[in-house]
Every structure is written in C-alpha cells, then in structure tokens.
Symmetry: C2
Subunit: 253 residues, 2 copies
DNA sequence: CGTCGTTTTGACACGCTTCAAGAGTTGTGG
DNA sequence: CCACAACTCTTGAAGCGTGTCAAAACGACG
C-alpha cells in the first residue's frame, strides 16, 4: 500500500474471479510492493527489447501493446484497461518483444519482479493464477487474429467495440450500452488493421446500426445488434465467472 | 515410456531450451505417463468447448488451431509441429475455446492433466517452464495479428514460410533452405486470412523471389531474400537460446 | 488567437475476392 | 493395375472493399 490511496485490490479481484486463492495467498498479493507511475497519453511504458525488472499493473487509463511492420505501420495487438496486468509475462520472460504505450493518460503500478517471484515461490497457486490470467490474454489474442483475418471492416470494429464494452462491464439489461473508450480513430485503425480513413467511413456506416463513437464515448442502442454485426461471442473472455467455475489445480497445503 | 518407442525427450528438450531444470525436474517430465494416439489428416484432436482432462503433445505431424467467423470461414490461429505442446494451456484452462485439428497425419501423446499437476505441485519450476512455453506461443500469436493486420499477401505468406522454416530449423549456411510443410494452399489461406485463389497467385509471384511451395515441399533459394520479403525477425520465436539466456526465476530447493 | 492533432469528405487506384471452369493429383476399390 | 472419385491446384474475368492522396473542417489546448 502507498500514500497514493491506490492498492492492489482490483488486481486481486481479477485473479480471484478466475482462480481460487486462500486467504494467505490473497494477502500475499495485496502485500506486493509497488510504485505508482503516471504516464501521459502516447508515452511508452515499455520499449521494444527492454529488459524489465518490474511488471506493470494498470490502475487507470488505457494501454496498448504495439508492434509494427517493416514500413513502420503500427498494429495494436492488445488493449489493457484498469485492472489488467499487461506485463505478467515479463515475470517469466523479461525481454520485451513488443512495446507498451499509454493510449490515454494512465496510472500504472510498477511491481518488482523479485517480489512477485518470492510470492510465487511461497505460494505456487499464485503462479498458477498468474499463468491463467496470461492465458486469457492469449485467448483474446487468438480472437484478434480471427478479427483481422476473417472479418470485414464493419464487423472488425463492431467486434472490438463489443469486446471492450464487455470488458468494461458496460452492457445493461435494456440492451443499450454506453462506455468511454479512450482511443482515437487512428488507434482504432491500428487495432483493426485498417486505415484511419476507412475507420471513419465505417463508423459512419455503423451509425445505421445504432452505434456511435464520438469523442471517445461509445453509445450502443442495442447490444444484440452490435454483437451480431461484430460476430461476437463472449466465451473467449472468460469474464464474470461463477464461483463454481473458478479453478485451482494445485491443492492448498 | 511406452512400447511404441516414443518418449517425452523432445518435449523436455523444448522446455530446457528456454528454462533451467534440475536433474530431478527433468526426470519428472520424462516420467509423465502418456497414451499414443494417431490422427488422420483433417481429424479433430480437440473440439470447441470440449472439457479436457489431458494435454496433447505433438510427436509427429502438423496440428492447427482453428477458429471461424459467423459465415463459417476458417482462420488458423496457430500451427504446431513435432515437439510442440499446443495444449499446455488446458492444464490451467480445461475448457477449449478453439478447436485443434490435424493438418497431416499425426502422432500425438495424450498426457493426463492430473499427472502434469502432480509434477508441478512437486516441482514448481516445472509450472514456470510450462508457463514460459505458453508465453512463447502467445508472442507468436501477437506476430500473427501483425501479419494478417498489416502485411499484404506476399509478405504474409513469406512471413509464415519464414516462421515455419525457422521453427523446423531448416535454415542453412548457404542461405538456401528446404523443408516439408504439410499444408495445402487452402490451409495456407486459412492461416493468412486470404482466399485460396489469391494464395495460389501469390505463390506464383513468390517464385520470382526464389521461393517455391509445391506439394508440401518448400524450397527457398535465399533465406535473406525471403526474410526481407516477409518482414521477418526471428526474435519473437525465442528459439535456439544460448544456455546463458535460459531462465529460472524460482530457486531450486 | 493560433497551433496541432483529429475527424471528415471526395476522387481515384488497386489488391484481393468472387465465381466459374478446367487440369492435375491422390487415394481407393474392383 | 486400372478407373473413378474427391481433393487440390490453376487460370480468367469481373466486381468490390479498402487503400491512397489531398485538403478542408473541427476541436482541444496553451
């Protein structure tokens, strides 16, 4: 805990939403030391090839994982919102193979690898929980391949909006939804493998489906419609799991 | 070990190429029980949504991870060759979110989750090594997003051939390379997010770069040229690591 | 009030898809 | 060992989705 008022509770929640942890194990997560770092939009959290000795936990803002082709055209391969741990893999693989950039102003917690390693050594179930969390990110990544590989512009964008709406927990019973997504149309283009110009035109077309994205505010009149247009099935997100679906493969000692 | 003459050595090699394991830990891997299963081409190893109680290790052949869009168009999101463990994530996430299909006739070892879990409980460093292996697959996945998102057909196919050539260890000093890749042009299309027709035309165009893919045999006159066309940088594969690059974060007890 | 990034619009070009049909290849059963 | 079926691969012609280039309108911010 630090005097910033920030703590690790939301990251623990993320873990316990999918993994079963004992009281002690949960406490070990909350006791991890961290340093609060603020990033302005468009600043790097991690550079390509950098050797890391800490992991980044997102407390606030939107973070993107960036790669690029030979011509320098950027491709966002992952998006991370508050509560996400974009960098868990660095614990086990400290050389960054892609860059992490703040898409909005962001607050990030730097957690020393050493502390995470010690916690995992004491409580192997923590390693399991971290590993599981990484695998959810990998399943999202596989869906992104499908998205850019086998969907047209309209579906791609709709799918991305669905995913983010779902991750923000923005669906409502009425079928409408609204949430803030701190991306420019340029970022949207980089995430969907399109050009900004075409993203702009496609967003205009999506208005006919009751979807608007203006000034970082997403409004969806009918969630079902958007999900159909975006060919979206939330299964891969493994979010909001019922307690009985949560997992632990290592027995508590 | 079984009477089939197959053992787990090559999978242990895969692990120890990136992770440091003690003698005992290595033996624990070799001692894992398994069942040998043969699959004909185009048969499923794992179906979507299936609940698994074993992991699949590829002893021989080519395996693909398949997803699809609403129109049923398929997208291959990962390829696995002999020595790969496509299914490690199922240890920690037993519900399959995509299907695994044999692209060629294949020999697969089914390893019970329970045995893997027991080995990890005894030797936490094994969990670390498995986790690390999963993360390499995730890094490949991120590159695939870049490939389908930000490269044209020629580069996409070249990149895929580069990756597979590299993974097969097929590069030679002379700059030429040749290897067998048991995929049809249809499969290539599914892996690159293109149509079979366009793959066919593009392969023809690649001949001008000294690359041929005829009847599952890939021949590359000049590896450098292919790597340039495919915008390929092998870093993300984390293959062939020098001993001093190998990692262990948990101390041996 | 001016600057810089973002969004919007138009005209045009091109890469890839679609549809269709024929040729080649592989596997199988008689 | 041949004959046939079922995949693969190949080629052509036409259409369309997305990219490219350019410029103007808009908006946020100092």
């Amino acid at each position: 805990m630090s005097d910033s008022g920030l703590d690790l509770q939301r990251f623990l929640d993320r873990l316990t939403n999918r993994s079963i942890l004992t009281e002690q194990e949960q406490q070990a997560v909350l006791d991890l030391p961290f340093r609060v770092v603020r990033y302005d939009a468009n600043h790097d959290l991690v550079r390509l090839g950098e050797q890391l000795n800490h992991a980044c936990f997102v407390a606030e803002g939107l973070i993107g994982r960036f790669d690029q082709n030979a011509r320098g055209e950027r491709q966002i391969t992952s998006l991370y919102i508050a509560g996400d741990m974009p960098d868990l893999l660095s614990v086990v693989q400290p050389t960054a193979t892609s860059a992490l950039v703040a898409l909005s102003n962001a607050t990030v917690l730097h957690v020393p690898h050493q502390a995470i390693r010690e916690a995992m050594a004491t409580y192997p179930a923590l390693a399991e929980a971290f590993w599981r969390d990484c695998m959810v990110d990998a399943m999202i990544l596989a869906q992104w391949v499908v998205n850019v590989g086998r969907r047209n512009a309209r579906s791609r964008i709709a799918h991305l909006l669905c995913e983010m709406g779902y991750r923000y927990g923005a669906r409502s019973e009425a079928g409408a939804a609204a949430f803030r997504l701190s991306m420019t149309q340029n970022h949207l283009a980089d995430a969907t493998g399109l050009t900004p110009v075409h993203v702009n035109r496609t967003l205009k077309a999506l208005a006919a489906d009751g979807v608007s994205f203006r000034g970082k505010a997403v409004r969806v009149e009918n969630w079902e419609v958007l999900a159909r247009v975006g060919d979206f099935d939330s299964n891969y997100l493994q979010a909001e799991m019922e307690p009985q679906q949560r997992l632990r493969i290592l027995q508590p000692n």
